[in-house]
């Protein structure tokens, strides 16, 4: 594949209650094998997917939160969060996990690719994406 396209994964569901968050994560990890420009957007209840400190040991469910922290290693360059969705849920970026990113060829490093953006920016990012997967 020579053409690099802008892929956006739009996540709008809370984790655990439905299978959407987990399915999205699986597809992102699979797609990581294909050298595309991959970004994730978290909006509405999707912002709950990035809330840190979850512990599923009493719930008999797999805790897949640690997987989000590895996304930087799988070629995900941006994880955007809709600020208005955080506000509506009484959350701030301090409540969210941080995800590191490093380009192994250039050694460029980013401490945290999780970034809160306003509504206009969400619109712009979705509009400029060439492929949007919705979960």
């Amino acid at each position: 594949m020579s053409d690099i396209k802008k892929f956006m994964y739009l996540n709008r569901r809370a984790p655990y209650g439905t299978i959407y968050a987990w399915e999205s994560l699986e597809v992102v990890l699979i797609a990581a094998a294909f050298d595309q420009e991959v970004s994730l957007m978290f909006a509405d209840d999707g912002v709950y997917q990035l809330v840190k400190g979850g512990d599923t040991s009493d719930s008999d469910m797999k805790n897949f939160m640690p997987t989000y922290r590895t996304l930087g290693d799988y070629g995900v360059r941006h994880m955007y969060v809709d600020q208005a969705s955080l506000d509506a849920r009484g959350l701030t970026t301090d409540d969210l996990i941080q995800v590191e990113w490093e380009d192994w060829e250039t050694e460029e490093e980013v401490d945290n690719i999780v970034e809160a953006v306003d509504t206009d920016k969400v619109s712009e990012l979705l509009a400029e994406s060439e492929v949007v997967f919705s979960f």
Binding site: G17, D45, G54, D55, T56, G90
Partner: protein, 101 residues
Amino acid sequence: MADLYTVNKSPFEKNSLESVIKFSTPGSAVLLIEDGVYGATKGTTAESMITAASDIKFYVLASDLKARGISGDRIIDGIESIDYAGFVDLAVANDKVQAWL
């Protein structure tokens, strides 16, 4: 006599919580489980639904809060956090259990 209602959907995605508050009789108990536990958190646009419903006793399932990274200090005052055994006790103490999906 009173009934126990469970709500397992996020109040931001479905109106299950809004409906149970609207249709329940005074003295009812509402237990928030699964994604319903998001409704128990402070500082949200859904908080006023619960704080205004003074004739309903609200409970929240602790293990579902824990799974989602919601600590006890984020829970709206007056909502009681219970474990699975507490869920069973509530089911026994009420006339019937009805799920609001």
